[in-house]
Amino acid sequence: MQLFLEQVLNGLQFGMTLLLMASGLTLVFGIMSLINLAHGSLFMVGAYVGATIVARSDSFLLGALGGMAAAAVAGMLIELLVMRRLYRHDHLDQVLATFGLILFFNELVRLVWGRQPLGMDLPAWLAGSVEILAGVPYPQFRLAVIAVGLLVIGLLYLLIMRTRLGMRIRAGAADRETIGALGINIRLLYTIVFSLGACLAGLAGVMAAPFLAVESGMGENILILTFVVIVIGGIGSIKGAVVSALLIGVADTLGRAYLPVLARLWLDPASASNLGAALASMLIYLLMAIVLAVRPQGLFGSYHA
């Protein structure tokens, strides 16, 4: 039972990382109708810059800010130089261009940081654990990730639902021609939204860095999971992203913890751990196939196809 609680919390923590990625990606898609395969590269940029700053300055906060800023700047440059020219193009051209961006960024970090993966140490003040229940210790850093995730999503909700900028973003998602005709600077709005999404991806990268090897290509695994999240949630829907990120995070973590154990009921230990691990990796894709077979537009999807 204790283990189960820990696994659920681990799942929530993973779900928060996915959510930070998914909210940016789904905003960009919902508002600009843009497929951005390079969103994972922004995650990677955040992780690399964050890990480097933490190693040099020994300050996790500085690292987090630096990672977010680097990803936001990279995102802004991508939007100004490449994406801006692609809004009127087919999705196919967007896939090709952002695929090119992935190759570029993966090689760029190899050039700058070398082929050896970086590690990131936890900050001392977050390295310990606290008792969440009597006799159940849980790592502080993971709790902090969950807290930051909740906070950021709360702020994002306020930004989108309660501010003028948010109103424009929502209006842009609903009908971009009308909002342009009303005198809103659409190009600026797009640049802001894209950089905002990039910044969230950078934050996700910094917060995931202590759990991962910071290496070239690290963005792709999380990118594919993020796509699964936004497709299950319904593309363009923030509410859908929240529900499905937490669902996927928990389902994936529990699957990895318990499917190998379950498989041992029927199989010998060696093939059980093998099959269990394979099933756990496939679980979320199966979940996605089932959701889409029943609701092709995703759980909360509406107008976008």
Partner: protein, 324 residues
């Protein structure tokens, strides 16, 4: 639709050049060129198959690596069992005969394409891209879990298949086997897209509603095209397993699916022959850039971005326009 003369001329020259690669390689004493170009032909075959669904039916599959890997692993597994005389199923010990292994590779890939198509063709646009990607990830994790066939490390073949008893170990015979198959597929698909079937596929891309109003259910046509495309990609996978005598999970990775997409777009979508140009162009670009720098992807990436921004219609599109 008559093709403009310059594009047709270029295609004839391209195919002629491909036919002459082995003697040229022998004459210039660069025998490695034969295997290198076999690889390009195999990727061209897979990309032509992808172009059938992507170019004509706007079914943007980001999961064709699954069919590729299934074809390759079929050949790899059958051959391993045949060489070690291990029973595979029902006491059958696999086979090293191409006439058996290659159609079986197409059958297995085709069946998986049927399953994927049944679910994913209910969606379109971005959802279709993502769901095909997810189905490819399933295959990726399945082949990684096949520990008896190498798992993550992949599986080295004992040798190439034999074609009707004739060994394909000689790179030149294997090259011509690939070239012959590519030509046959190009011819058959050209006939297919020109037929009533092809018209329905194109019409379903342009206006699904009108097609339904005419009393034609596009779903079955699109599904059939998807299965044909998957089976042909499986054939390409079977050939690649023979070419490199090695199969591994990266064949099913999403980068592989991306590669096929890049080849189609670089060569020219919706032309069938375009991907052949694309496969050769990508191969030549990679070889040139690798010779230039170890960090060649830092150049290839921006080149692909430029293609997406300014070179719409790809190489074959440009050829067609220039004769316009």
């Amino acid at each position: 639709m008559p093709k403009p003369p310059r594009a047709r001329f270029a295609t004839v020259m391209l195919l002629l050049l491909l036919a002459l690669i082995p003697p040229l390689a022998v004459l210039t004493e660069n025998p490695f060129l034969v295997t290198m170009f076999s690889r390009a032909l195999i990727f061209a075959l897979a990309a032509v198959a992808l172009d059938l669904v992507m170019g004509y039916g706007r079914m943007v599959s980001f999961g064709h690596a699954a069919f590729f890997a299934l074809g390759a692993y079929t050949v790899g597994i059958l051959s391993t069992h045949a060489m070690q005389d291990l029973p595979l199923a029902f006491g059958w010990t696999g086979s090293n005969e191409a006439l058996l292994a290659w159609p079986l590779a197409m059958l297995i890939s085709g069946l998986y394409a049927l399953l994927v198509g049944l679910i994913s063709l209910r969606t379109s646009g971005v959802y279709f891209i993502m769901i095909t990607l997810a189905f490819a990830q399933l295959i990726y994790f399945i082949v990684i879990s096949l520990s008896q066939y190498g798992g993550q490390d992949g599986l080295a073949l004992w040798g190439r298949n034999t074609l009707a008893g004739v060994a394909l170990e000689d790179p030149i015979s294997f090259y011509y086997a690939c070239f012959g198959l590519l030509l046959a597929v190009l011819y058959l698909l050209r006939r297919l897209v020109g037929s009533r079937f092809g018209r329905v596929i194109e019409a379903s891309r342009q206006n699904d509603v009108r097609l339904r109003a005419l009393g034609i259910d596009p779903f079955r046509y699109r599904l059939t095209a998807f299965v044909i495309s998957g089976a042909l990609t499986g054939l390409a996978g079977a050939l690649l397993a023979n070419n490199s005598e090695f199969v591994d999970p990266t064949l099913a990775s999403w980068m592989q699916s991306g590669n096929f997409l890049v080849i189609v777009l670089l060569g020219g979508i919706g032309s069938l022959i375009g991907p052949v140009y694309g496969a050769l162009a990508l191969l030549l670009m990679e070889e040139l850039l690798i010779a230039l720098t170890e960090h060649w992807q830092i150049i290839l990436g921006p080149l692909l971005i430029l293609v997406a921004l300014f070179f719409r219609g790809g190489i074959y599109g440009a050829l067609r326009r220039s004769s316009g």
